[in-house]
């Protein structure tokens, strides 16, 4: 386990690099990223190893380049109209790679943003399933969970919004054909479903985090390989991009502390 103070890399910066890795190898696909670390990560990927990524302006357009977070709308250079109706054309064509957030996620990759408790009379109504059902069966989807705990990593989500591996398999070939839950990134580590029965596996821990911490904060039996690597450190060039170009105001530290 490396000491984060020795490298000077913050936890938020490890999360950003992990988010960027989701887009590695992507050509001209629309990268959509919810949350601060995913927004910086997608921009970092575009500025480094995935230059052909297509980013949205957060409203109804595609924009040129990968400007700093919080750039004023009038300073953006737009290249195409992308109202919601056209977003569905992109979603259903599969030319999209997405990092969504999750109020709950479970062992087989189901995600919940609809409601906590029984759907008919929830303990807490959340925003609603939004586009999660359609996204997950049409293009690669990853999740960003900045508050890893037994409340967010649960045995079974209350309302299946984003579809996990078991549910997709049960729904049949039309659901599995384009289904891929790529990575789950939390403030503690990175997870994937690269196991024989497609259940969640610990892929790496962020520098400074122990495997035991991750296991204790997870509400289900996680697959833990014998050797768990650290999440890779940002290169000096990546670190400079994050700190000086993409997030000079330090918004990343408000989402993930330390």
């Amino acid at each position: 386990m490396s000491d984060p103070t020795a490298t000077g890399v913050t936890r938020a910066e490890s999360c950003i690099v992990a988010c960027a890795e989701v887009f590695r190898g992507d050509g001209e696909v629309m990268a959509s990223a919810f949350g601060t670390a995913p927004a910086i990560g997608s921009r970092l990927a575009k500025r480094t190893f995935s230059p052909d990524l297509v980013l949205t302006d957060g409203d109804a357009a595609l924009m040129v380049g990968a400007p700093a977070l919080g750039t004023r709308p009038e300073e953006l250079v737009l290249e195409s109209h992308m109202p919601y109706r056209k977003v569905f054309d992109v979603v259903w064509s599969g030319r999209r790679n997405l990092i969504m957030m999750a109020s709950q996620i479970d062992r087989t990759g189901n995600q919940n943003i609809s409601a906590i408790g029984p759907w008919a009379r929830p303990k807490a109504q959340l925003v609603g399933v939004r586009g999660a059902p359609g996204n997950t069966v049409n293009h690669p989807t990853s999740y960003w969970i900045p508050n890893h705990s037994t409340r967010t990593f649960v045995e079974q989500v209350d309302v299946v919004s984003g579809v996990g591996y078991r549910r997709a398999a049960e729904a049949g070939p039309a659901a599995t054909r384009f289904h891929e839950i790529r990575h789950v990134i939390s403030n503690l580590g990175v997870f994937d479903f690269e196991t024989p029965d497609r259940v969640m596996r610990l892929r790496s821990v962020h520098p400074g985090v122990t495997v035991d911490e991750v296991v204790a904060a997870t509400g289900f039996e996680l697959v833990v390989p014998d050797e768990v690597p650290d999440t890779r450190l940002p290169t000096p060039g990546e670190l400079a991009l994050i700190r000086e170009v993409l997030d000079p105001r330090g918004l990343r530290d408000r989402e993930v502390r330390a």
Binding site: W119, L126, G134, S161, G172
Partner: protein
């Protein structure tokens, strides 16, 4: 060209209790709030509200107007959830039909095209098919044999959308960057209403923006109502952005019975002119409060 001009009261007079009503816009953006406020003042009830939901849904639920909400989300955008909709759901005061966003779009499109359903992958494997047991799948009749969700047509008795400009014949112009699904709400409905920031002579429509901003044709409208500020407090760019201060006041008031009663009497138990005047007055008060706070902070730092 028929003159389709109406007043808000005329519009509400065309609606009946028990109707299924589509409300245009998206979240806290370009919502026909003047029409919503007029419904709040009416004696209509038992409505099924179909909406990419924002404060329209919360307000109508809280006022006891709604028996069912059909929605993929209810959000205030800059604030993740609507407190009044949360309360309605958590007390099971309304029934719900929760769809994926894309399913919702296809439901309106199917109704517009007069077909019973449209197929999609969206919804497969999710709890949308569990909590809506009436939904069915359909098997492709072609060689692939794929089993897809058959999204039923979302037929509406009435629809209301809010646009930047319109003419007396019911042609509407959307000057903001996203027309959302307003055309489809109108296409899916039997009675179709457009409210607008400004009614203008027809020749001013094309002069006011590129042709593709004239996205609502009069083929889709039965009535048009001029309601300046009619989307307030939601965004209606480029005429105005979301009134974030007002929205915060709404959310704060909704969380406290006493404050909510005061909010209702000040902003909702008045006619539309009274609402607009009260909203301007509140903006002035908030400005004064901010200036006083800034002045006080300035003194402390000295």
């Amino acid at each position: 060209m028929a003159d389709k001009r109406l007043t808000l009261d005329d519009l509400v007079g065309e609606l009946r209790s028990g109707m299924t009503i589509g409300i245009g816009g998206w979240g806290s953006r370009r919502k026909p709030m003047a029409a919503v406020r007029a419904i709040l003042r009416s004696d209509l009830d038992d409505l099924t509200v179909v909406s990419y939901g924002g404060p329209d849904v919360g307000l109508l639920c809280d006022a006891g107007k709604v028996s069912r909400v059909v929605f993929p989300f209810v959000t205030l955008d800059s604030i993740p959830t609507d407190p009044l909709f949360k309360a309605a759901r958590q007390s099971a005061a309304v029934a719900s039909t929760e769809y994926d966003e894309g399913m919702f779009y296809l439901g309106l499109l199917a109704a517009s095209q007069r077909v019973p359903f449209l197929p999609t992958r969206a919804g497969l494997g999710s709890d949308v098919l569990v909590v809506n047991p009436e939904l069915r799948t359909v098997t492709s009749p072609y060689a692939d044999g794929e089993e897809l969700v058959a999204v039923p047509a979302l037929r509406l008795d009435a629809a209301v959308v809010h646009v930047n400009r319109a003419d007396a014949g019911g042609s509407g112009q959307i000057l903001g960057p996203d027309p959302f699904f307003d055309e489809l709400y109108l296409g899916a409905a039997d009675r179709r209403f457009v409210t607008t920031e400004r009614l203008v002579p027809t020749e001013e429509l094309a002069a006011g923006g590129p042709l593709q901003t004239l996205s609502i044709s009069r083929l889709l409208t039965d009535g048009v109502v001029e309601t300046p500020g009619g989307a307030h407090f939601t965004a209606c760019v480029p005429d105005y952005g979301r009134d974030e201060s007002f929205q915060k006041e709404y959310v704060a008031a909704a969380g406290d019975p006493e404050a909510w009663a005061a909010f209702r009497s000040r902003f909702l138990e008045v006619d539309e002119d009274g609402y607009q005047a009260a909203a301007r007055e509140l903006a002035g008060e908030l400005d004064a409060r901010r200036q006083a706070e800034r002045a006080a902070a300035g003194k402390e730092s000295r």
